[in-house]
Symmetry: C2
């Protein structure tokens, strides 16, 4: 208890052995030597073989002993027992992302560090160093390695002898020796990376206790080859292998700079990073792996590689310990990438009794719907309007971007907030959603998205035949030009929100789900937008505002999960196999849904909270 | 028949399927399509289900049909059958070494090339390219791959599309995709290498038919760091990691030059070499793998790594296809290296009913004794005299070396043969053995190896207190100096031969073998020496001359075996585990044996052929 886990072990094994076998993360700082007293457990069943060791007497109080508390490492098993692990004896790692959400994960990384002491070679025991290491790993840690990375050859023999045969061995998957460390060097780190089209996020973690040490993010330096996916594929198609190599090298260089940067922040050496996990959409995935992604730009958008893959960091040019591995999560298809698998891994709708709807909005929108029985996914072409691109005065969420907007329904005057409290340069995605929503609430546009003719405000004007609404006048902007939102901008936002709405609705219909129980907005975008304004626009089907939550960078979190726990990798594989892809453009009824959803909030569907949200604007 | 192999298969399978399952190498050029007619077999048993297919009618004559000849690929099995595979339908590879010995090996390499045609991707079959390749490999070749090397990512998607989905896939161990080749490119090569202290030998083979395409040899370029093992270890000990890297880089550069050279000779591209196998003594093995070999220079001479290892060629700097692998045979210990395992693999004493004694003489002498029940090995410090080193006028077997010598027992005059028919520069190993043996036969030295006092020849003289015998006078030599053999040279040869003799005798005694049935001399040395002269010196215990054969570069041949047949690798592992190492210097009675063996031919042991060999010299 409280894991509801039962396990059978040989007589004479300790409770700590049993817990390890059952993957129950009992704290054990001293490694089971009875020195730290961290592995206290409570024996719930009455057993006749329960003694008290000397070590326990020093570490467990009299009162605790009478309550059945013992050290797991000191208590041997000679019959059935029911054990409770108190909260303070459980090792929990916490994953904390930028948005401050917190999900628990038990650290059980693929890469582990095993302290061993091997025998001194002699004529009577003259097996090779590596064989003696293998023997000791088996004996002391029950780990049977079969391979060794050649990058520990150069220094290995010297370290063993200098350290007088007491060393720490870094092992991957309990199978391959990656490194031999001096006995006092126990550093073991990992990096999780989320390669977005625009932004790359990275997290540096301690693999032993799952502690976050640093994080970093940077613009994807590939941006110089084009802002969106199609322009990057185009560059590769035009420039062939050289184009791919340019793109790949640029990306790898950026990733290495990010790793260096995090190492500096955390004061660690990158030689002590032994594992990297990576998520990204299918094109980023391909370019990262140096795979020509041209096929992803043409129907039927077939990826070259879809299963997850583990490669040596050195083969990819990733500068961590050269023996370290890079694990790339699987992709589902051309439009459902490793980032989406990461989102699903982090949010775990496949464990949920409730019907979940996950919306991850970036340059494309990816939608996942389902529960523990069935999962479906789709990709919808939202266009970049929701990221502030393809909007006349749009910009990325950066210093100088208008990120929040309110419009007085009476005066039609505008208030706004600028990132970094500077003079505004433009409007970012969350600001764009606010503007369109506020224009609707202030009845400046109608439910078809068109500017009304009868508005009495100098902010609304016709410029070269295009209606536009002025957010800020030139004299107050950093650009010296009026910042406006045009009829076309509004149209683009309508297209974006309609494609999300219709996509989500089709997926729910495909699953015979009437209404989702919860809607999760993944991605940085989800954190910044005003959910109520998005709701008023009609972005989410069949929900109340309270059912919608922003869950932060779930894709990056999925990469962290895969980094910290090996079982999450099996999950990732299962997700990629299990999740069904729905091609929306070929789905019967999608077009009608899309057209209905262009209206604000919708042409047909009733919105439970809409009257409440609009009541102040009557 | 004639393999005496029986196999059970499901009904409806073809004889070719059965043969493949039983590892019987029936020729099948068309891959079992009934087009080439190469897989003719004779059905010996009367069966009632034997028809004749249309394809067979075109390829098998009427007469053959009545004799029971059929195409293995066309004949389906519906009951018990006895099949004879005629000689012309068996695929055999031949291994031919420098000495011209020929041993058969069936080609079943680790790396294979599988032609496939994969489905065109569509919205209804939109699995990734790699998944579709996997599917087809399973369907067409029953091969289940699980991994793919990243070095085929860059061009892979383009080749697939350019070749219209018909490609050849290079697969290692039926498990990892190494490369995707255009449908008309079926090149698949491998290299076997024998890294000696002085010489490196290499062989280029076609992995599909086991054909030898080229071979090459070169001086080990490490020779600039020292001629023997201890001086090379010394260089590394003095210069640390940099010393190791110098030594490793020099070696790798030499190996790459050798590969380039062979590729030129055979007009093939090194990108089509996908596998390299390597043997070498333990120090060469370590330096090749970039392992610090310092521990091999100190008692108890423990290697860092002993098991066999497969690494990516790129990780070692070996320039073949970057996805290709390098397999290094296992070592047994500090003095029993991968070269010795290679020798045992090639000569297969572990399959022999007879008691074998294998002597491989290089800078050290390695001895293996045993039969199918038990194998033991030992290393004896012969010193380099038998290679022509540490001999006053000794030299390597090279142009200008005196390689054969006779001395007239009456006149004490000398005849000799020089390599390359030039003026002599010195004496190589085989010449040194001849000289000492001839000196003994001509009664110029006595059985203790000492020059007799009463010899009437101006060739025998005392120079600065050291007796020496002149082989050739200065006026006829390339050096302008007399070429002589000194008392100390003779002493060194005695030490060398005594240590081989005593080592072999101890191993035989250890196995309770009275007399070996055959003695095999491995290594280039074995090919060049005059066996009778070595016999007179007393180098081989308990044998007649006719029992002694030179078997050529068996170590290199072992590397070829490991290259051509995957099962030989399991054998190599088994050998390394099974063979017992005997530390001669610690063995009771070794010292006495050694002292007795210093005498020519021996102080105690009777030599069956000695009188016969000496009779002309009476």
């Amino acid at each position: 208890m409280p894991f509801n886990s039962s396990i059978k072990v040989d007589k004479g094994k300790t409770l700590l052995d049993a817990a390890r076998k059952a993957d129950i993360p009992i704290a054990s700082v001293c490694g089971g030597k009875g020195k730290c007293g961290k592995c206290k457990v409570k024996i719930l069943s009455k057993v006749d073989f329960l003694g008290v060791t000397k070590r326990e007497k020093g570490l467990v109080t009299e009162k605790e002993l009478t309550e059945g508390m013992r050290l797991a490492c000191q208590t041997k098993i000679y019959g059935d027992m029911i054990i409770e692990v108190p909260e303070e004896s459980i090792v929990r790692g916490f994953v904390k992302d930028k948005a401050g959400t917190k999900r628990q994960i038990f650290p059980q990384p693929v890469v582990c560090l095993y302290p061993i002491e091997i025998s001194i070679p002699s004529f009577s025991d003259n097996e090779s160093d590596v064989e003696r290491i293998k023997r000791e790993l088996k004996k002391m840690h029950n780990v049977s390695v079969s391979r060794i990375d050649p990058f520990c050859f150069k220094a290995g023999p010297l370290i063993l002898r200098k350290e007088k045969w007491k060393v720490n061995v870094v092992v991957s998957w309990d199978e391959e020796i990656l490194h031999i460390k001096p006995k006092n060097d126990k550093e073991l780190y990992g990096v999780a990376m989320d390669i977005g089209i625009t932004t790359i996020g990275a997290y540096l973690l301690n693999l032993k206790d799952a502690c976050h040490l640093a994080s970093g993010s940077t613009l994807n330096p590939q941006i110089k080859f084009g802002e969106d996916i199609m322009s990057r594929i185009g560059y590769i198609r035009e420039n062939g292998i050289k184009g791919l190599m340019d793109m790949n090298k640029t990306l790898i260089k950026g990733l290495n700079a990010l790793i260096d940067d995090m190492c500096r922040k955390a004061s660690i050496s990158k030689k002590d990073i032994f594992e990297v996990t990576v998520v990204g959409n299918t094109v980023m995935h391909h370019i990262f792996l140096n795979i020509n992604p041209s096929s992803l730009g043409l129907s039927p958008f077939t990826p070259f590689l879809s299963s997850s893959i583990t490669l040596k960091a050195r083969d990819l040019g990733i500068k961590i310990n050269p023996a370290g591995n890079v694990y790339v999560l699987p992709v589902k298809g051309g439009f459902v990438g490793a980032d989406n698998i990461g989102v699903v891994l982090a949010l775990k709708p496949y464990l949920s009794d409730e019907d979940c709807l996950i919306i991850d909005i970036g340059t494309n929108g990816e939608i996942v719907a389902g529960n523990k029985d069935r999962l479906v996914c789709a990709s919808c072409a939202t266009g970049p309007a929701l990221e502030g691109a393809h909007v006349k005065h749009g910009m990325r969420a950066d210093i100088g971007a208008i990120e929040k907007v309110t419009i007085d329904p009476k005066t039609k005057e505008v208030e706004y907030k600028v990132m970094g409290d500077k003079k505004p340069k433009g409007i970012c995605g969350s600001g764009v959603i606010d503007v369109v929503s506020e224009l609707f609430k202030a009845r400046i546009i109608d439910s078809s998205g068109r500017f009304k003719k009868d508005i009495n405000s100098k902010r609304l004007r016709n410029t070269y035949g295009m209606m536009e609404f002025v957010i800020e006048w030139a004299e107050h902007t950093a650009t010296g030009r009026d910042i406006t939102i045009t009829q076309e901008d509004i149209r683009n936002v309508q297209f974006a929100k309609a494609s999300i709405y219709a996509g989500a609705k089709i997926l729910l219909r495909h699953l015979n789900i009437d209404r989702p129980s919860k809607i999760m907005l993944a991605g940085a975008f989800g954190n910044y937008i005003d959910v109520k304004n998005a709701y008023v626009l009609g972005m989410f089907p069949y929900a109340t505002v309270s059912q919608i939550t922003a869950v932060g960078n779930a894709a990056g979190e999925g990469a962290i999960f895969a980094l910290l726990n090996r079982k999450e990798r099996e999950e990732a594989e299962k997700i990629a196999r299990k999740i069904e892809y729905v091609e929306l453009t070929l789905y019967k009824g999608f077009q009608e849904e899309f057209l209905d959803a262009l209206y604000i909030p919708h042409r047909k569907d009733p919105f439970p909270d809409i009257d409440d949200l609009l009541k102040d604007y009557q």
